[in-house]
């Protein structure tokens, strides 16, 4: 509250100064709000498409706010000379049709320079073609389905799907097998049970894991599904328990994974639960994630990355708490990709819609060190950052136990 009034006082003060400088408040030529950067060329917009209402909104809000953080920083640092940047966040309600509408809305605005999003791969499927039509670059912080970049036959005959689509996160076909290797080879768990939440992310991840486990000589003893709104997993656990697995792999996100892990333990199934980056979140432990549970996440451990730490600190300073959720850092990087490419695109010139082509080239050539490690794209638009880390819950916190690249 206090912060707010200080901020407003600052706004009021600076505005009054500007008005005083003009000598009268009749001056309607606007846009200059007293910042120190030159913003004479106007305002450009970074779009965000993510679920901002409904039950995935925690993840969506993390994406939105992290993008806002990146844009704020860029405005302060005058990253894009001559322009002020804003974020326009559109709710997709995790619904493909709503996502299409949100994307169309952004695509009709000539000042939109790029879009961060989406959370759900299924929504991405409707957003991709709409943005491609207008050659608007899309950088996803969270879509993990390999088909989005490399098509349905992504393993045998990869083919770039949309030249405007990039992502900074890892894909199921890397993360799943990486986890499988760890489970089977390093941890020596041969009998693995799979539980998924039935959504694109978890299903894709689990399917890729399953292939690799079998390849490495492990055994999938059972595959079960829980409802995405379920809270009582006793039935699934009892069933899995009868199969005597040595580990359980969960394809899904932490709101289900945490309680699932706890209920497993309570029911006497005390084997580690492993998941992907969707469960790599402090909340997982809070919600019941037990000692010894495992998760994979993209990039090297945060502690070893100065960029990651500074993101966390800046986020906390801006929003007061660390609710950037699972994809905040990726979203921050995504926004920075767009901003960085934009700076290069408008260097010495002005923005107009015809520059979108150049944006695509500049994003494809983008390379920098972000909050999640190296940010760079391969010929399909996937992140080249194939470094993955396995984390384990130790003393109620995630601790890295293995970092490396998936090599097959």
């Amino acid at each position: 509250m206090r912060k707010h009034s200080v901020k407003s006082a600052a706004i009021v003060g600076s505005a009054l100064l500007v008005l005083a400088a003009c000598g009268s408040n009749k001056d309607e030529a606007g846009g200059n709000n007293g910042g120190s950067c030159d913003t004479s060329k106007g305002t450009l917009t970074v779009g965000v498409v993510a679920p901002l209402s409904g039950n995935l909104s925690a993840l969506g809000l993390g994406i939105k706010q992290s993008a806002e953080l990146a844009v704020d920083e860029a405005n302060k640092k005058c990253t894009v000379p001559g322009y002020k940047l804003t974020v326009s966040a559109q709710d997709d309600e995790a619904n493909p049709a709503k996502g299409a509408q949100a994307a169309t809305k952004l695509s009709t605005d000539p000042n939109v320079v790029g879009v961060v999003g989406t959370l759900n791969s299924s929504v991405a499927q409707t957003v991709q073609p709409i943005l491609q039509e207008k050659k608007i670059v899309q950088v996803s912080p969270a879509n993990t389905s390999p088909t989005l970049t490399r098509g349905a036959e992504f393993q045998t005959a990869p083919k770039r799907q949309y030249d405007n689509y990039f992502r900074v996160c890892t894909t199921d076909d890397l993360q799943g097998p990486f986890a499988a290797n760890y489970l089977v080879e390093k941890a020596g768990k041969k009998k693995i049970a799979i539980i998924t939440d039935g959504k694109t992310y978890g299903e894709g991840l689990a399917a890729e894991l399953q292939k690799q486990v079998t390849k490495k000589g492990g055994e999938i003893v059972g595959a079960e599904k829980v409802g995405e709104k379920d809270t009582d997993f006793s039935g699934v656990i009892a069933k899995i328990k009868g199969l005597n697995p040595e580990a359980v792999y969960y394809g899904g996100e932490y709101p289900v994974a945490g309680p699932l892990s706890k209920q497993m333990k309570d029911a006497g199934l005390d084997v580690p639960l492993m998941g992907g980056d969707g469960i790599f979140d402090g909340k997982f432990v809070e919600l019941g994630g037990k000692e010894g549970d495992l998760a994979t996440s993209v990039g090297a451990p945060t502690e070893s990355l100065a960029t990651a730490k500074s993101f966390v600190e800046a986020y906390k300073a801006k929003f007061g708490k660390e609710d950037y959720a699972a994809y905040g850092a990726f979203s921050y990087d995504s926004a920075n990709v767009i901003i960085g490419a934009l700076a290069k695109t408008v260097e010495g010139g002005a923005w107009d819609e015809s520059k979108r082509e150049a944006m695509l080239t500049n994003v494809a050539a983008y390379s920098a060190s972000g909050a999640t490690g190296e940010v760079k794209f391969d010929e399909y638009g996937d992140s080249t950052n194939k470094v993955l880390t396995v984390y384990q819950v130790t003393s109620s916190a995630w601790k890295d136990v293995q970092t490396g690249e998936f090599t097959g």
């Binding site: 009034s5 505005a15 008005l19 804003t86 493909p96 299409a100 169309t104 695509s107 009709t108 039935g198």
Partner: protein, 570 residues
């Protein structure tokens, strides 16, 4: 109780009615010319030159201040000229003035950091908002002083050509209002004030509409349009097809309008089941999903079940038939199950559908990966999602979908209307009203109910087929319980059994969220609250079916009578 309170207020305010109204009108005009905000806001100027100095450019008044100016003039006219049901008109205008002033002042206050932004506290003078609010309150008080008479009933008849002219002008006005509503606040994502501007515009439009309705014009025109039904429908369809040529004719609004149309067509189908036959269906969107899945599987998309593609009309027909078959199956327990129990059966079916689709049942749904990459429709080589150019006119992308969907909605409306006024429609309504009596009239109620489900599901399946191609992806996530509820709400909000009602309901439920994206966090909450309030204050819906309208009028008469009696007692 409340009537007594009003009558007391009336006695106190009665002599002041006219002076108060005049004062309010003058104040509204003044407010329009006053500055509203003391400085330029963080995101740029509060729109439309609201920091303009006192009186220095009265002809540059635009945006919400133009609305205020109009309100002021209208109020003065209504107060001074002989106006039918003057109190009612003034009340509407007063509320409109209040709403516009309040919304703008509130937004400035919140965004600008306190009351300083709209007063003189910060050294500059900006009293526009305060004066506007006062003006609104004065006019509302004045209206109660004058007294709220019933809506005037215009008796005079006009010749057919004149009637046609009036209808043309009226529907033209509707078209203009719709286009203005869609485009207000800017089309793209750049205007940071879009949400507030839109709300302010709604305040203006609502006030004017209520005033026109109070003066009796709306009732007169709707009576005229019922008299010349065919002409009205043609003009209305023409207006709908003209929308792409207005300011709203851009890709975004074409997409939104097309989606609205798809849901409106579905809602009309649901209206057969709920509004005519009186059967509550809580899983209706599943039929749309089935239609979409069938069309997707025949579309030639990479992950479709069938490796070939069928021409769209054939695929759409199959989609409708398959959805219809499922409709009949779901409806079949109605042979034995009554009323609310049926609702739970439909709900169960909806849940079974989403669950099965999520699990890729039979390989038809591609599970959680959905079926992406459904090709856009095309006709003579023109892809429906591209923009097209006809001579000098460039039409936005998606306009062909829009036209297709307008035709779809028109066709669905025709189906609904024809069925409603037929032997079968009467049987449905009879079942809704009294099932035992309907059976005693020889109506095979079970058969009729299944028929309602079947036809409703077919319409939904057809809409689903268009949906699949329009959106390019079919995922179970588009057909969840909340969508069923939204559809049901559209039917009930618009008015059960009423055809324009379903379209209006669908439009509101899908346009408002689009316009209120600024408030996205509260969207669903507002949706819930709106459902409660509508049921509380207008349970028959916005455009009730003629029969129900009569019902409502009856009730209003009763209320008026009671109020009369009570007043006399007091």
């Amino acid at each position: 109780m409340s009537t007594v309170a009003i009558s007391e207020k009336r006695s106190a305010l009665a002599p002041l009615g006219k002076p108060l109204a005049i004062a309010g009108g003058v104040l509204a005009v003044v407010a329009a010319l006053l500055p509203w905000v003391t400085f330029s806001l963080n995101d740029g100027n509060w729109p439309d030159k609201s920091t303009l100095q006192f009186f220095d450019a009265p002809f540059l008044v635009t945006g919400f201040r133009w609305h205020m100016l109009l309100f002021g003039v209208f109020i003065l006219v209504a107060a001074l000229a002989p106006t039918p049901s003057r109190g009612r008109v003034l009340r509407a205008l007063g509320w409109g003035t209040l709403a516009v002033s309040f919304i703008n002042a509130l937004y400035i206050t919140i965004k600008g950091g306190g009351l300083g932004a709209i007063t003189a506290l910060d050294g500059e003078v900006a009293f526009g908002g305060v004066v506007g609010v006062v003006a609104g309150v004065l006019v509302i008080l004045a209206s109660y002083g004058i007294g709220i008479e019933p809506v005037a009933d215009w008796k005079f008849k006009v010749s057919t050509p004149v009637a046609y002219l009036v209808l043309l002008v009226a529907f033209g006005g509707v078209l203009y209002a719709v286009a203005a509503m869609l485009t207000t606040g800017g089309v793209g994502a750049s205007n940071p004030y879009a949400g507030a501007i839109f709300l302010s515009f709604l305040g203006f439009a609502g006030g004017v509409l209520a005033a026109l309705s109070g003066v009796g014009l709306v009732r007169w025109i709707s009576a005229l349009s019922e008299e010349h039904r065919v002409f009205s429908v043609i003009v209305l369809a023409a207006c709908a097809l003209l929308l792409p040529f207005t300011d709203a004719g851009n890709e975004y609004w074409m997409t939104v309008a097309a989606n609205i149309g798809i849901y409106a067509a579905t809602a009309i189908g649901l209206n057969i089941v709920v509004g005519l036959a009186g059967l509550l269906d809580l899983g209706y969107v599943a039929f749309m999903g089935i239609g979409a899945l069938v069309a997707a599987n025949f579309s030639g998309a990479a992950t479709a079940y069938f490796g070939f593609s069928l021409p769209f009309p054939v695929a759409a027909a199959i989609a409708a038939v398959v959805a219809g078959i499922f409709g009949a199956i779901v409806g079949s327990p109605t042979l034995r199950v009554r009323g609310d129990y049926l609702a739970i059966v439909t709900l169960a079916f909806g849940e079974i559908f989403t669950r099965s689709a999520q699990n890729d049942i039979g390989g038809f749904t591609n599970g959680s990966n959905a079926i992406p990459g459904i090709p856009a429709l095309s006709l003579f080589g023109a892809e429906f999602n591209r923009s097209i150019t006809i001579g000098p006119v460039k039409l936005p992308g998606g306009v062909l979908y829009y036209i297709l969907i307008v035709l779809l909605v028109a066709a669905t409306m025709a189906v609904f209307a024809n069925l409603k006024f037929s032997r079968i429609g009467r049987a449905w309504i009879a079942i809704r009203e009294d099932e035992d009596a309907a059976r005693a009239m020889g109506i095979r109620t079970g058969k009729m109910k299944i028929l309602a489900f079947l036809i409703g599901a077919m319409l939904a399946g057809l809409a689903g087929a268009v949906f699949a191609h329009k959106n390019g992806t079919v995922s179970y996530e588009s057909f969840k319980f909340l969508e069923s509820i939204t559809l049901l709400a559209a039917v009930i909000l618009g008015g059960m059994g009423s055809i324009p009602g379903a379209v209006l309901g669908a439009s509101l439920l899908f346009v408002l969220p689009e316009k209120l994206r600024d408030f996205e966090e509260y969207r669903l909450m507002i949706f819930g609250l709106a459902l409660i309030l509508i049921m509380r204050f207008r349970p028959v819906g916005l455009i009730p079916d003629a029969h129900r309208r009569a019902e409502m009028a009856e009730k209003a008469d009763e209320n008026a009578e009671e109020a009369h009696v009570e007043a006399r007692k007091a």
